[in-house]
């Protein structure tokens, strides 16, 4: 399997405070990796650095053998289209657009056809056995639950045929059942479309698969961990974290 996303010695400082230091990470094709860390440990920051939303102070991000620093405007635009980003809760959707307009926004912007989008969304949802409400596409984000918002974000990211999807804890505001359905839906799509997943979360409320790689983010440092360590960290974070719960 080839490496899709590579972080080399990433460092981020704010007001002389070290938030991330010497972060190395390799994400291979179709790999699922989970970054565990307490609320405020820098998971979201690291994910935003990965997709170029925030610029790191040190280190390099290599996407498909190309350094992000060396990309021109069009290349960086293509890079962003190949790296989907799912935000937490009701964030991440444009409030003045309907769910369908939110899904088709990048396609319209880049002058691409949106004819097959509706059919593709229906196909994915039907295949996964997820019933779709009547008039689902015409709803506005404020009319929907956190689950629907997260689902729309996932669909939008997936339809752009990404190589990597970064998830900034979209399960934190969902109940256990919805979190499980959403995670299974993402994995279902991942198996069909072969993209890698990098998820940042403080606790796990969804079923873990055997092939998942775990990382623990603590004190600005990222270490590889086992599933057992991740579960312990998740339980501890669930006890002490009041930020995400």
């Amino acid at each position: 399997m080839s490496v899709v996303l590579e972080l080399n010695a990433i460092g981020f400082y704010r007001d002389e405070r070290i938030l991330l230091e010497d972060i190395d990470l390799e994400l291979k094709d179709s790999e699922i990796a989970i970054i565990m860390g307490q609320s405020g440990s820098g998971k979201g920051l690291l994910l935003r650095i990965c997709c170029g939303l925030i610029k790191q102070n040190n280190g390099d991000i290599i996407f498909c053998n190309k350094n992000l620093r060396e990309m021109d405007y069009i290349e960086s635009q293509n890079f962003r289209r190949k790296v989907g980003f799912i935000f937490e809760g009701k964030s991440g959707l444009v409030p003045e657009l309907t769910l369908f307009e939110n899904i088709t926004l990048p396609f319209l912007y880049f002058g691409e056809s949106t004819k097959t989008i509706k059919a593709l969304v229906q196909l994915y949802l039907t295949d996964f056995n997820l019933p779709m409400q009547e008039g689902f596409f015409e709803l506005y984000p404020y009319q929907c639950t956190h689950f629907t918002n997260a689902l729309v974000q996932v669909l939008r990211a997936v339809l752009m045929q990404p190589k990597v999807i970064l998830l900034e804890n979209p399960f934190s505001l969902l109940g256990i059942k919805n979190a499980q359905v959403l995670f299974q839906f993402i994995v279902f799509l991942q198996q069909r479309l072969n993209f890698a997943i990098l998820l940042g979360t403080s606790y796990i409320n969804f079923p873990i698969r055997d092939e998942v790689t775990f990382y623990l983010l603590e004190g600005g440092e990222l270490k590889k961990g086992s599933a057992k360590q991740a579960m312990v960290a998740s339980s501890m974070n669930l006890l002490v974290d009041d930020g995400d719960v």
Binding site: R81, V94, P95, Y109, F110
Partner: protein, 270 residues
């Protein structure tokens, strides 16, 4: 990094936060329209169709939203200006001078300013609310993460829409103020001898059109730049709509007065 950030910390604290900060913010603000316009040239050809559609839709939306307000205000101001000028100055000034005074007042000063104020209250404050709300709920980050340029997707269509809408509204305000103002005066002051409408319109020159068109373009650019600049550059903890609107208001007012004066002076020098 903004110009204001570059020089921050160079001066004593109080001075730094007031005068110098304001000065460099104004410089940043003046460069902001250039940043918005630049996005048109860096963006792919395929994205431009969406931009034109968006701009066209916004022209209609902005125009219609402010149409009634502008009409009522222009009607009242037209009636006041035409009646006051003709009743009080007709004895002392020549016919030609009276016509010129009315054109200077309505075409040069009042109507472009009136449209600016109406747009400021209707469009400007809404823009700040939209942008601040989108920043707060991370919609802007989501848009950027999809490879979409915020300036090109959000600001440039609004700038173009606002400029075209302001040009149309200013023209409409000028015509309304003179035409309806004249009729209203005739009805209110029956029997008084007013300058015929045709004579007022005959006195219009290319320079008059140039000044009011340029003023509406300039004012709409100031309005959009100021309102969006503060929404986009304020730090996350300060993304409060009232605070941003208040900050933008002071800069809007100063820049409006300054450019109004400059363009009027330029018009006179022509």
């Amino acid at each position: 990094m903004s110009v204001a950030d570059l020089f921050s910390g160079m001066f004593p604290k109080y001075f730094d936060f007031s005068i110098s900060r304001m000065f460099f913010t104004v410089i940043d603000l003046l460069f902001f329209p250039y940043k918005i316009l630049k996005s048109y040239f860096v963006e792919k050809q395929s994205s431009r169709r969406y931009f034109y559609q968006n701009s066209f839709r916004l022209v209609g939306k902005i125009f219609l939203k402010s149409f009634i307000g502008t009409t009522i205000a222009a009607l009242i101001i037209g009636a006041v200006v035409i009646s006051q000028v003709q009743i009080h100055l007709a004895e002392y000034l020549s016919f030609d001078l009276l016509r010129r005074i009315m054109i200077y007042l309505l075409f040069w000063e009042i109507c472009p300013g009136l449209v600016f104020i109406v747009q400021w209250t209707r469009f400007g404050t809404t823009l700040t609310m939209d942008l601040a709300g989108m920043r707060r709920n991370q919609s802007l980050s989501a848009i950027v993460s999809m490879g979409i340029n915020i300036e090109f997707y959000f600001l440039l269509p609004r700038l173009l829409g606002l400029i075209v809408a302001c040009l149309l509204l200013t023209t409409w305000a000028c015509i309304t103020s003179i035409f309806f103002g004249h009729i209203l005066c005739l009805l209110l002051f029956e029997g008084s001898s007013f300058i015929p409408l045709v004579d007022i319109f005959n006195a219009l020159t290319v320079r008059d059109f140039l000044v009011f068109l340029l003023k509406s373009v300039c004012f709409s650019t100031i309005l959009l730049s100021t309102q969006s600049y503060f929404s986009l550059t304020a730090s996350n903890i300060l993304v409060d709509t009232n605070y941003l609107n208040a900050r933008a208001a002071s800069y809007n007012f100063i820049l409006f007065l300054f450019f109004n004066l400059m363009l009027s002076a330029w018009g006179l020098a022509l």
